[in-house]
Symmetry: C2
Subunit: 170 residues, 2 copies
Amino acid sequence: MNDTDFHFDPVVFQPIGVIRTPYKESAPYQPIDGDEGDFRLVLDPIYEQGLKGLETFRYITVLYYLHRVEGDVELIVRPPWAGGVAVGVFASRAPNRPNPLGLSVVRLLGVEGNVVRVSGLDVYDGTPLLDIKPYVRELDSKADANYGWVEQFEDREHLILHIKGIPHEH
Amino acid sequence: MNDTDFHFDPVVFQPIGVIRTPYKESAPYQPIDGDEGDFRLVLDPIYEQGLKGLETFRYITVLYYLHRVEGDVELIVRPPWAGGVAVGVFASRAPNRPNPLGLSVVRLLGVEGNVVRVSGLDVYDGTPLLDIKPYVRELDSKADANYGWVEQFEDREHLILHIKGIPHEH
């Protein structure tokens, strides 16, 4: 295949479980680290063995299917909190993307049988779970990571509250 | 749906492009940060607009389909470098997982048209690309992340070289 051949077969995944959150009708944009609600990854019991050793990690990466996305995919998006700035969908975390594949890094609070308790997760209750990966310090934590286009704003600190989904006064 | 109903519809994604790497026949376990080879995400040109603004980020998260995984999925894995220790597949980054969905955090080197140049990426040439997300400092970088079960080993430093895929003398 050369670079100009973009005819791929579809990729088919089968959810391994379901994500339980308090968000039945609305969900925050991003994980709320201080949220003390009930957040659980409930695996199909056939996969329970696959969790062995996961409890040794402080953080995990959760991958899921954004099953409640509605509307068309737009390649240029204008995050509602970003003052009208227009960026590409791949430079954003907007859920309306060509493949509605969600990713959140969360704290692991405990593993009991087929259930993984985690810190605040920004998804609707009932979201199909696709994968869990250990978040490994050397691979996934980049101390010199930046904020990208968000840094151009004078009120960056305020916008970061929006990015983090932290409730605040305007 | 209650917690004991695990009958999900399959999730179907369509690749948005292809990953080009020097790895035709073998690939390292994880990204090699110092690798100076030619690593490119080549998007289907219909998605080129979606890259607008991506160049402002220092790191990106690349999600892809592990299309060359062979063999059965085992829920308990024994990483070849880990001295026989057995962990669950979800506590590992093994490619043979229930959903062969790959994730790598890489440095962004440049965006030109529909092509994103990145630092060393641990995948075979021709890997189907599913999504690109900006790696946002506040969301994705966890300064207190740990190494999980790898920390139990006396030769942790050595094992981390394996985890990072860095060539070294034994």
